[in-house]
């Protein structure tokens, strides 16, 4: 249609009449319909102007130092407001790497979960999202406490490097081949540079560390203090859960340990064994295996019948048996266990060596430091002034070093003694590659631009190399790509490198490994353990939440209950019932513990199942830096044995007389005979799922729409690792409340793991039960709410309307599962500026005075529903994975539609082990639990 400019017909018209010129001014749109400008200011104009100026005034506050905020004129194709994106990246920690998926919304990461190809995400990977938004992060380089520009800082660093003085570079362990390459180049370019990998936690001997358990062929497993189910290695939990499927081939787990660990809680047979006796126990076991159970007398602490049974089991299983040794135990124990495994010819170990730069050992470095050998020291991503048994020596020795530089995320004990502080990228802002389990090479890509004026540590080193004229890559990404082009992409690959790299970035990992043949090193002889001195044995293990203290500033982890003792915010000294009785101690009593020259005054926590004479304490607490970490718990690093093992002998304990309340989310309650958590013996006829006659109800039955959501929790798969709790917290913006509030019973976790003891308190069985809103059909919370703030959705969800809630708390009283959480205070007030960015925008942040609870991740349900609708298909089973389901390494939680007869959830709910908790109340919960199975020897129950 050509438009004639002379045509009087208006080009845009409001009505046909107007177009035809039939409409006069008084027609459809009379003149006064919209306010014409009049002389003076009308009330409406005044309000408009005021509103506009108020809005404009408010936008001034958005101005960030000259960074213009421009709306997308052309939207980046991958960013759709309101739709989240998933990126593959890699989380690494102390030389181990885990491929993960990072969910971002409008460019900011909001959730870290497992990778379809690389397994589930470990607990701390999910939690470390908070580390990105940590308000304590260093936001720009500092020199002697004053902010300086990066180029000035780099200039200073470059000068020190070029001066020719001997330098020491201290780094944390890493499994990154490119980083290793870079470090190698740097040491070549700077001959005076010494390298030291500083990880302060006790570990297995170097040559044994490469042996990783693989459970797919294992039939009998004996853990000698090895707590392998803690969630540090989700792949192991996954494999374990798979091997625990009911049936003939079900793995049997024996545990002999000092403290009551999570693994011990899951054991079929658990023996109390002092850590100092592990080596002797393993040796005796080896002898008995050779000569038959009768030949070798049972070690004194083991019941003769059980010992015989254990020996027979291991003999029968042969290569299908696996013995694991606790990582922190002394070298003798590791050697003995390794010898035992070789004797068995176990199929349960694979050889996966870690790449490691050749460098100094800490002792050498310290001696040189103390001798004043170095002109400068650079710390990169490590904290030896805290996380080391030699922290005191480090501190003294550093006084002799003129130049001290530090690179890291947030100021810590080590940065406090350094003059030049260079802030580093968080891993979610940085590039990298890592050797991942299973012969994979995993890529780490930034999912958000740097929040602050920080640089990647590798970039800093690369700049140093460039300054020395030894490198050409402008940045680490280029360096990484170059190395990948040279070494990773297999020669002759048909795709161009860019496409290859892009595909690798998309997947997050590539398979690289050619099978590595383990070295057939002979068993090293080890000295027989000497006499055990009198007193307690103290076992120091890394905390599964704050690790070696590096996550101490992470409130999610601080508030995550320890899976067995359920303590939070700190590391009480775990003590056996017998010792507590002897010293007349109660939970929270303060004691003075003397270990050699060191001593600590700390509260005790009495732990059923702890071996008498054995104390255990988590490392990683008692930090001196960090707003969250500071003052929480006690620093146990000085107590570490100088030999590097986590076992300390001859420890004295004295009661102090005062008390400190232990913040914990659950006491030592036993099941008291209640049918809440069902445990059956494998092979026993299931007594669940009799589908107790549905109790009559005065209320009409619920009418459901197309779907009815439900869940199955397989207690046999659940090991209690609590990864789901953290994923739920991250997904649903659940606030942390702090130790005082937890001590008062106000923690907010929507999903909690209940732990119950059963049997003899000296060596009880413990079992775990994830407990969240049961979305009852006849929900008792719903009919007591006076304002209808909680009600039932047509798809079977028990909904909570935060806006309507006035906070009578009646619903929570009437909830028999006590899964409702009340905002007693404004818990979100404590969040500082960047922390708010960690919020999931799909989930309302609840104000004080409002009740909240598990929603079955309704935002994910809606998201899947919208997706299905856009794709014009019905929802199918597996479309929806609530955060806990996605996080569970054991696959213990299954979610789905109870109305779909083919869904997994319906199939599982009909399992003979299925039952509903408190079914007799007639509330008709939507969650079916499958009874846990124990697989003890027939007639050999301990």
């Amino acid at each position: 249609m050509d438009l004639n400019p002379l045509d009087p017909t208006p080009r845009q018209w409001r009505s046909l009449e107007e177009r035809a010129g039939l409409c006069d001014e008084q027609g459809e749109f009379p003149a006064d319909a919209c306010e014409a400008p009049r002389p003076g200011v009308s009330r409406r104009n005044f309000l408009q102007l005021m509103g506009a100026s108020a809005a404009l005034a408010a936008t001034v506050a958005c101005d960030r130092k000259g960074v213009p905020l421009v709306p997308y004129t052309r939207r980046p194709t991958e960013v759709v407001p309101g739709v989240s994106n998933l990126y593959a990246s890699t989380f690494s920690e102390a030389g181990r790497a885990y491929p993960v998926l990072v969910r971002t919304r409008e460019g900011r990461p909001i959730h870290v979960s497992g990778h379809d190809l690389g397994g589930k995400a470990p607990l701390r990977a999910t939690a470390d999202l908070l580390g990105l938004y940590d308000p304590d992060r260093l936001r720009g380089p500092l020199a002697d406490g004053k902010a300086i520009a990066w180029d000035k800082a780099m200039e200073r660093l470059g000068q020190e490097c070029r001066s020719g003085k001997p330098l020491l570079l201290v780094t944390g362990a890493s499994a990154s081949p490119t980083r290793l390459h870079l470090l190698r180049e740097l040491t070549q370019a700077l001959p005076g540079l010494d390298l030291l990998v500083s990880e302060g936690l006790p570990k297995a001997p170097e040559d044994l560390r490469a042996w990783k358990p693989r459970l797919d062929q294992v039939q009998v497993m004996l853990s000698l203090g090895a707590d392998f189910l803690t969630g540090d290695d989700p792949g192991l939990i996954e494999a374990y859960a798979k091997r625990r499927e009911p049936g003939e081939a079900m793995l049997r787990l024996w545990v002999a340990e000092g403290p009551m660990s999570l693994t011990g809680a899951n054991a079929d047979h658990r023996l109390l064994l002092r850590p100092s006796r592990v080596a002797a126990f393993a040796t005796a076991l080896g002898a008995a295996l050779r000569e038959g159970p009768g030949a070798e007398p049972a070690p004194p602490e083991v019941d003769a019948r059980l010992w015989k049974a254990l020996v027979q089991e291991l003999r029968a299983a042969g290569p299908r048996a696996l013995v694991l040794c606790g990582a922190v135990l002394p070298e003798a124990a590791h050697r003995a266990v390794h010898a035992l495994n070789r004797q068995l010819g176990t199929l349960g170990l694979v050889f996966e060596p870690e790449g490691k730069p050749s460098g100094l050992v800490p002792a050498q470095a310290l001696v040189r430091l103390e001798a004043g050998h170095y002109g400068g020291v650079i710390f990169w991503g490590c904290n030896p002034l805290y996380a080391s048994s030699e922290a005191g020596r480090w501190k003294k020795a550093l006084a002799r070093v003129p130049f001290r530089c530090w690179m890291g995320l947030r100021e810590d004990e080590t940065s406090a003694v350094c003059s030049l502080l260079l802030p580093e990228h968080h891993w979610l802002e940085a590039w990298g590659d890592h050797a991942a389990p299973g012969g994979h090479l995993a890529l780490q890509q930034p999912v958000v631009g740097a929040l602050y004026d920080t640089r990647q540590g590798e970039d800093v080193l690369l700049a140093l190399l460039r300054g020395l004229g030894k490198a050409s890559s402008p940045d680490y990404l280029t360096y990484l790509k170059e190395r990948w082009r040279r070494e990773v992409q297999v020669s002759g690959a048909s795709v161009p490198f860019d496409r290859y790299f892009e595909a690798a970035l998309h997947d997050g990992l590539v398979k690289v490994a050619s099978p590595i043949h383990p070295p057939q090193s002979p068993d090293r002889s080890f000295p027989a353990p000497g006499p055990v001195p009198a007193g307690f044995e103290l076992l120091l293990e890394p905390d599964r939440r704050v690790f070696d203290g590096r996550y101490g500033n992470n409130g999610w982890l601080q508030e995550l209950p320890e899976p067995v003792s359920k303590t939070v915010w700190g590391n009480p000294l775990m003590l056996s019932l017998e010792d507590a009785r002897r010293l007349s101690l109660e939970d929270g009593d303060l004691v003075r513990m003397d270990a050699g020259a060191e001593h600590l005054e700390l509260p005790v926590c009495i732990q059923p199942g702890q071996t008498p004479g054995v104390l255990s304490l988590a490392l990683g607490y008692g930090r001196a830096h960090g707003r969250v970490a500071k003052g929480v718990g006690f620093n146990a690093f000085p107590l570490l044995d100088p030999s590097g093992s986590g076992l300390r002998l001859g420890v004295e304990l004295r009661r102090l007389g005062s008390r400190r309340e232990l913040p914990r989310t659950q006491g030592h309650h036993r099941l008291a005979g209640r049918d809440i958590l069902r445990i059956q013996e494998a092979g026993e006829t299931a007594h669940g799922n009799h589908h107790a006659h549905e109790l009559p109800s005065l209320y009409p039955p619920q009418v459901f729409g197309e779907q009815r959501w439900g869940m199955v929790v397989d207690l046999n798969r659940c090991v209690g690792c609590s990864t789901c709790v953290l994923a739920c917290q991250s997904e649903n913006n659940i606030p942390i409340v702090g130790p005082e509030q937890v001590a008062r019973g106000r923690e907010m976790h929507w999903l909690r793991i209940d732990r119950y003891y059963d049997g003899d308190p000296a060596n009880p069985r413990a079992a775990h039960q994830p407990m969240m809103c049961q979305h009852c059909d006849h929900a008792p919370c719903e009919n007591v709410c006076p304002v209808n703030a909680t009600n039932h959705s047509p798809d079977g969800l028990n909904q909570m309307v935060y806006n309507r809630c006035v906070g009578t708390r009646y619903c929570a009283n009437n909830c028999p599962y006590k899964v409702r959480r009340f905002n007693f205070l404004e818990f979100n007030n404590a969040k500082k500026e960047p922390e708010l960015l960690a919020h999931n925008p799909e989930v309302t942040v609840r104000p004080r005075g409002v009740m909240e609870k598990c929603t079955f991740c309704i935002q994910r349900i809606q998201d899947a529903r919208v997706r299905a609708k856009l794709e014009k298909r019905p929802l199918k089973d597996g479309d929806i994975t609530p955060a806990c389901v996605a996080a569970c390494p054991a696959g213990a939680i299954v979610f789905g539609d109870l109305k779909d007869p083919h869904s997994r959830v319906v199939h599982l709910a009909e399992d003979p082990r299925g039952y509903k908790v408190l079914e007799e109340l007639g509330v008709r919960p939507a969650i079916t639990y499958l009874a846990a199975l124990r697989n003890p020897l027939r007639g050999g129950k301990s």
Binding site: L671, R746, R755, R804, R809, K818, L825, R848, G849
Partner: protein, 471 residues
């Protein structure tokens, strides 16, 4: 009087007044208080109580500004002092209504001298009670959502919720009690109006007396209205605390979910209320020299009521134990064991001691007539009834179904501050009332003065001399 003299000594109803009381002297004695300047001890007393009330209000302000987190409430004890205090105060109120309404309908003439005072206490107690549901919610500024008012969002309240029934029950109770009280006050206020010479009191009394002239038609309407309201209030005595008990009885919580709760709560309320009336009445009687109008007999009869209620409470406690055992419900069983031997077992035994054991002293006439023993019992009952609600609410909640969620409850300073603040508020209101309005209903007492009613012997009275129809 002469007829009475013909009855044997034991059957004779004791005199309801002592000494020579004439209508004139009665007016002079009772109606003079509002006109006189209060003595120093009154000022001291009200300074203390209002200071306590002010501190309590401060704590309430702190709570509203900060959140319920300043209290000791936790998960699973989501309700604690807030609801304990609410039930406690609602219970206190019940004695007033019982005295003024039920005893009126049963023509118990001894009520006439104490009804006014007891009714006033009802109203003040319900005011204190009403405070708690308001401040205990998480967002008190939205508490009006509990009322079913028409709104644009078309949101309605949940009529299945016992908490909503509570809202209706308590607000109805307050409204009816206030009307009943005010109606009874009208003739007395008219007397005050007629007596006063004070320029600024006169118009106030004039307005409040709503034109009462004491005409026969006035009396006729008054009597009818009074009887009707008494009838209404009678139902409320039974219903209000029953509804309050539904908060517990209709829930799932072991220890709450019991059919005995409604009658048990009503009895407990009357019990606690009478104890409070006895305590306060003794103070009023002594400090205002009303021994001739509130006689030892009045106190003794009230003590008898307390004794009777105490026995019923004992029965209810026994039944709770029996139900726990007979139901074979492990959860209920556990709760009952907790009441007598759990962490809060001391509270359970304190309740039984204060409510069942100590009141047994009142079997002895000496204790029923001695101030010391009376006050001992009354204080005991008041404390015991507060702890009874503590036992019901905190002990039941702190260990319910899943042992993993069990938790100890510890109140905070703010909890105690608000509890004592509410006591301060109550006594402040009582003190103000005692000085502003006639504490004794003169018109009603005049009706029982010797010679006030022409006595005619009726055959029924001869057969049942204790049933005396005064009008």
């Amino acid at each position: 009087m002469s007829d009475q003299l013909t009855l044997p000594e034991v059957l004779r109803e004791p005199a309801l007044t002592m000494g020579t009381v004439t209508p004139g002297s009665l007016d002079d004695q009772v109606l003079a208080f509002p006109e006189r300047r209060p003595p120093l001890k009154w000022f001291v007393a009200i300074a203390c109580t209002s200071l306590i009330a002010a501190i309590g209000m401060g704590f309430i302000g702190y709570t509203v500004a900060t959140g319920i987190g300043v209290w000791g409430n936790n998960s699973p004890v989501f309700w604690a002092f807030d609801i304990i205090n609410f039930v406690f105060w609602v219970g206190i109120g019940h004695a007033g209504t019982l005295i003024s309404a039920i005893l009126f309908i049963f023509r118990k003439r001894w009520r006439n001298a104490i009804a006014r005072f007891a009714e006033a206490m009802t109203i003040f107690a319900v005011m204190c009670a009403g405070l708690f549901p308001l401040i205990h919610v998480g967002r008190p500024w939205l508490a009006f959502w509990l009322f079913p008012y028409p709104n644009q969002r078309a949101l309605w309240t949940n009529f299945r919720s016992p908490l909503l029934w509570d809202v209706f029950a308590v607000s109805t109770y307050f409204a009816v009690s206030a009307m009943f009280w005010y109606l009874g006050l009208v003739p007395d206020i008219a007397s005050l109006r007629d007596r006063t010479t004070c320029k600024w009191r006169k118009p106030i009394y004039t307005v409040l007396a709503v034109g009462w002239r004491g005409a026969g038609s006035h009396w006729q309407h008054y009597e009818k209205a009074y009887l009707l309201l008494a009838g209404l209030a009678t139902g409320l005595v039974l219903s209000v605390h029953s509804v309050v008990s539904f908060d517990f009885a209709t829930s799932l919580v072991p220890g709450w979910h019991m059919t005995i709760f409604p009658p048990y709560f009503v009895v407990g309320a009357i019990f606690a209320g009478f104890a409070m009336v006895v305590m306060v009445l003794i103070v009023v009687r002594e400090s205002m020299d009303l021994q001739n109008l509130i006689t030892d007999y009045h106190l003794e009869v009230m003590n008898k009521v307390i004794l009777g209620m105490s026995c019923l409470m004992g029965y209810a406690y026994l039944m709770e134990g029996f139900t726990a055992w007979y139901s074979q419900n492990e959860y209920l069983h556990h709760t009952f064991i907790n009441i007598i031997s759990g962490t809060y077992g001391w509270a359970g035994w304190l309740t039984i001691a204060c409510n069942v054991v100590i009141p047994q002293l009142l079997w002895f006439k000496r204790c029923r007539t001695s101030y010391f023993w009376m006050i001992l019992v009354a204080v005991g009952v008041t404390v015991g009834m507060w702890f009874e609600r503590f036992v019901i609410i905190v002990i039941s909640l702190h260990q319910d179904y899943l042992p993993s969620a069990w938790r100890i409850y510890k109140p905070t300073l703010v909890d105690f501050g608000i509890l004592f603040g509410s006591l301060g508020l109550f006594f402040t209101l009582v003190l103000i009332f005692a000085r502003v309005l006639p504490v004794i209903a003169t018109t009603e007492v005049k009706g029982i003065l010797p010679g006030a009613q022409p006595w005619t012997r009726r055959s029924s009275c001869a057969a049942h001399p204790w049933r005396e129809w005064s009008w």
